[in-house]
């Protein structure tokens, strides 16, 4: 398996629906997605959008049923079943870039003509996928299927042919291939002539060919022989041509006909689409036209259940053992673990948290003063009062551990890899619940240690993969993410913007600010670890924030795990992905928020062209 991407081994786009079903872990979000309504799956790269869309399809559902039956029907919990026929319509970034390249490859085409060419290419792809589904559904229906194929030939292909599903799909692809050749020839006239000769439905509205196909299906097969409802699942719509985005999102309001229900299952980045936000006077609400389904986790505890099951399956698959994630990776003194901390006596005399606090208080005047202000003895910061343990000790634990580990001359230069960011909880938190990142981290940990020492794992102090190895591997993963941010191609600065600000600059500025809150001269019990995008931030930085959200570099922090920012970017609260925490020495917690504009101003003045970062 190719591992060149920072996301490691897992990408549902490479997998067939059957393969997706093999490794599927049901989530509450899938329960939402199967409902008979329009949905927008929102989240960054790798969060599972493609997986969920593919799981809606007939092939994935059939495979899931087979797997459930193999385990005696009681093994795998069945996910909710969709009451519609789903059609997965693929896309990817290469497709997006190349559709845009029509304009440069045939420069004499007008904007309208370019869009027509794009429509012809996109519709051919979408229709071919729908025909695959139609064929699966109508398999074995004899003369009705032949009648349907004749209608499809009449509607979608200018050529006469033997009416079979395979021939129709081939004809669509051959037409697309001819169009591609003409584009490559650069001859605008030939391109336009060819497009003009196509059935008009193939260069019309983004949904027209699909709806027509479903209508013909119903007419040929009758109501009893065709699905009551269809769902068109558009993947990566956030990078589709603008005309397609507009037409698909406008269709959220009304699509289909009284006798033919069409649902739309779409994907988008963590911020709702511009087209949706800007509808004036029509207020496309989540409640009425679609459900926004959030696929990212902004609070570490929210993803723990999914991550634990995912990790358990992956361990079983790779090691052939039934070792639990806790046995493999142990627990971290660093993670916020509430009751578990108490059970382990972390805050009792001699406990991990207590020891760190004593050590820090011994050399950190600011922390000592803080403890005094809370009426806690710095030489013995134990307290039996639950209220104090909650309000003070548990609250400052992460800050203390980071400060104790990294602050001070000898600490900073220590060659030994600190074992702060280790353990099951930290791995889950670093992934932010993103399946692809989680798979990458787990694969790295298992592959690079050969699965660890199976003799270990009987207690959390000696996990199967020792903490030292984990610390090195997770730190390396964190550095890789930082490098990925630095290297991600973002394009040249827009005309007139000489700021030279890149995503990496913004991430650095935020990380430095948050790190200063933790390691600066003053001890903060509630340090700033997130940012609110305020109105003072200029468009350049807002664009970087949107890109960062799409890439999963920034995480949108809502009020709850279901909260979706619906008012646009301004006012949204964001934090850095926890995968950056080891390399940037940051907490695994959302922390208090500060205005992004003040964070961007932080530090030295070498941050380029600051005046272009802010609104006039």
């Amino acid at each position: 398996m190719n591992q060149a991407s920072i996301y490691g081994a897992f990408n549902a786009r490479w997998l067939s629906p059957e393969d997706v079903a093999e490794t599927f872990v049901p989530t509450p979000q899938f329960q939402q997605l199967v409902q008979t309504r329009n949905s927008i799956l929102m989240g960054p790269r790798g969060c599972g959008k493609t997986t969920l869309l593919k799981m809606l399809t007939r092939r994935a559902q059939q495979r899931w049923s087979e797997l459930s039956a193999q385990v005696g029907g009681s093994g795998r919990p069945g996910p909710a079943r969709p009451d519609f026929e789903a059609v997965y319509i693929p896309s990817d970034i290469r497709w997006s870039y190349e559709l845009a390249a029509v304009a440069t490859d045939v420069p004499s085409l007008s904007t309208v003509e370019i869009a027509r060419v794009q429509r012809a290419l996109v519709n051919a792809t979408a229709l071919a996928e729908l025909l695959r589904t139609v064929e699966d559904f109508s398999d074995g229906q004899g003369s009705d299927a032949t009648d349907l194929c004749k209608r499809l030939v009449d509607a979608f292909t200018p050529q006469r042919m033997v009416p079979t599903f395979g021939r129709i799909r081939t004809a669509l692809m051959e037409n697309a291939s001819t169009l591609r050749s003409l584009i490559s020839s650069g001859r605008a006239g030939a391109v336009n002539n060819f497009v003009d000769a196509l059935p008009p439905v193939l260069t019309g509205h983004a949904l027209d060919p699909l709806i027509l196909c479903c209508t013909l299906f119903r007419e040929a097969m009758g109501p009893g022989g065709s699905p009551k409802r269809w769902a068109f699942c558009f993947d990566e719509l956030e990078i589709a041509p603008s005309w397609m985005q507009r037409e698909v999102y406008e269709s959220l309001r009304s699509v289909g006909a009284p006798e033919l229900t069409i649902l739309l299952k779409l994907t988008w980045s963590p911020i709702l689409p511009e087209g949706v936000r800007r509808f004036e006077g029509q207020s496309q609400t989540q409640r009425d036209d679609f459900e926004a389904i959030r696929l990212w986790q902004s609070h570490a505890k929210d993803s723990a259940g999914f991550c634990k099951e995912f990790a358990a399956r992956l361990i079983r698959h790779k090691t052939g053992t039934e070792a639990t994630p806790q046995q493999m990776f142990g627990r971290s003194a660093f993670a916020d673990s509430g009751a578990s901390d108490e059970a382990r006596g972390a805050y009792d005399r001699g406990g991990t948290a207590w020891t760190a606090m004593v050590a820090l208080a011994d050399r950190d005047e600011s922390f000592r003063s803080y403890l005094h202000s809370q009426r806690i003895d710095p030489s013995d910061p134990s307290c039996s009062a639950p209220a104090v343990r909650d309000a003070v000790l548990r609250k400052v634990k992460q800050v203390v551990l980071i400060r104790e580990t990294y602050r001070g001359a000898s600490r900073g230069r220590s060659r030994k890899q600190p074992q702060l960011y280790v353990g099951e909880d930290v791995i889950y938190a670093m992934s932010d619940g993103n399946p692809r990142i989680l798979a990458g981290l787990l694969n790295d940990l298992l592959d690079r240690t050969g699965g660890g020492d199976p003799q270990r794992g009987s207690n959390e102090l000696e996990p199967v993969i020792d903490y030292g190895a984990q610390a090195g591997i997770l730190a390396a993963a964190s550095r890789r993410m930082a490098k990925f941010i630095e290297l991600y191609p973002v394009g040249e600065a827009p005309k007139g913007d000489n700021s030279g600000v890149r995503l990496g600059n913004l991430v650095d500025r935020m990380a430095n600010f948050f790190q200063d809150q933790l390691l600066g001269p003053k001890f903060y019990d509630d340090p700033v670890a997130s940012a609110t995008v305020d109105a003072a931030v200029g468009q350049g930085v807002r664009d970087l924030v949107e890109l960062g959200l799409l890439l999963g570099v920034f995480i949108s922090v809502g009020k709850s795990q279901f909260d979706v920012a619906s008012g646009g970017l301004v006012g949204a609260r964001i934090r850095l992905s926890h995968v950056l925490s080891p390399s940037r020495r940051l907490m695994i917690r959302n922390g208090r928020a500060a205005a992004l504009s003040s964070i961007v101003r932080f530090g030295d003045l070498s941050f380029p062209s600051q005046q272009t970062l802010f609104e006039e």
């Binding site: 693929p90 870039y97 190349e98 390249a101 490859d105 290419l121 792809t125 991600y488």
Partner: protein, 325 residues
């Protein structure tokens, strides 16, 4: 036009056959290495220079301006990202070639990929007539250390004219011709998120310093790529590179959509463009710093100059009609 054959050739053959010479006029010292052709070439040879609008006073540019002027080159001023001027120069050369039966010589040593990409595209798009030969000339630079600083990937896109527009129903396979600028490869891998990554590193010998730097600069990509998909290609043998591409991409094309990106020597990029003329389902992408790059001189290593003759024909001729690469 289709490629009937792609074979190694010599400067002498190129000089004797070519009625038009096209070269790049820029700040690199090797920009003038094509001029040796002129002195050996036919009388009345047409001489066209694609002259960079930028960096007119940088490094060897002032001297190159004078040398090209003295040699009778007609300067066509344009930006490095402007393919239209290069395409027009190619069309002019093609018209002359088909009218006179002479060949054209194109020195790509100091050209941008957009320029020679545009010219290859024009050659592939040409129609009618007897066909023509093109001699592509490439003089590598003498080895110099890679840049100290990582230069950002500002320009990432399909090379104009080389998008395949293949439907996204198959995963992507990314075939990377590696260079020694750190970070380029990883950035493109992260953007395209391919199912399969293939690494091709240029190598002249085991002690080739450029090869050593390429491997070191791309250590991270190597670490995360299946070793069975890491290859070396021979510098100085474009036909062998072409055949390697056929071999690698032939199998990949059945289950993936292939993207080739050249991050290293121009001869690899040129070969990939010619390969895409034969295999139109392959897309050619580019990664660069755009305007963010710092000018670096390139002294010509003339002992390693390579010449490739490409024979273009409107229809494959001969009883077997089988191309020869």
């Amino acid at each position: 036009m289709r490629i009937e054959s792609l074979t190694a050739s010599t400067l002498a053959d190129a000089a004797a056959a070519s009625g038009t010479i096209i070269a790049a006029l820029g700040y690199e010292a090797r920009a003038a290495s094509a001029l040796g052709l002129v002195e050996k070439g036919q009388a009345g040879t047409r001489r066209l220079a694609l002259a960079f609008n930028s960096h007119r006073a940088t490094l060897s540019r002032p001297q190159n301006d004078e040398v090209f002027r003295q040699r009778g080159f007609r300067a066509l001023h344009c930006d490095g990202e402007d393919g239209q001027t290069a395409a027009e120069a190619a069309r002019e050369a093609i018209r002359h070639a088909t009218a006179t039966g002479s060949a054209m010589a194109v020195d790509i040593s100091s050209m941008t990929r957009v320029w020679y990409g545009a010219m290859v595209r024009e050659m592939a798009r040409a129609r009618g007539g007897r066909g023509f030969d093109t001699y592509f000339i490439y003089t590598p630079a003498k080895f110099g250390p890679p840049p100290d600083q990582q230069v950002p990937n500002n320009v990432v896109s399909p090379l104009p004219g080389f998008s395949s527009y293949s439907s996204p129903d198959l995963p992507i396979a990314l075939v990377l011709g590696l260079g020694y600028e750190p970070g380029r490869a990883l950035g493109l891998v992260e953007l395209l998120d391919p199912k399969r990554t293939v690494l091709l590193a240029p190598k002249r010998s085991d002690r080739d310093p450029f090869y050593v730097e390429v491997v070191a600069s791309n250590r991270e990509v190597y670490d995360r790529t299946d070793p069975s998909w890491c290859f070396e290609y021979p510098m100085g043998n474009a036909p062998a590179i072409f055949r390697l591409m056929q071999s690698v991409c032939g199998g990949l094309g059945l289950t993936t959509r292939v993207v080739i990106a050249s991050l290293g020597p121009k001869i690899f990029c040129l070969t990939s463009l010619l390969f895409a003329c034969v295999e139109p389902d392959v897309s050619i992408w580019r990664v660069s710093s755009g305007r963010g790059g710092t000018p670096r001189d390139a002294e010509p290593d003339t002992a390693k100059t390579e010449v490739i003759r490409v024979r273009w024909r409107d229809e494959l001729s001969g009883p077997t009609a089988k191309p020869q690469y």
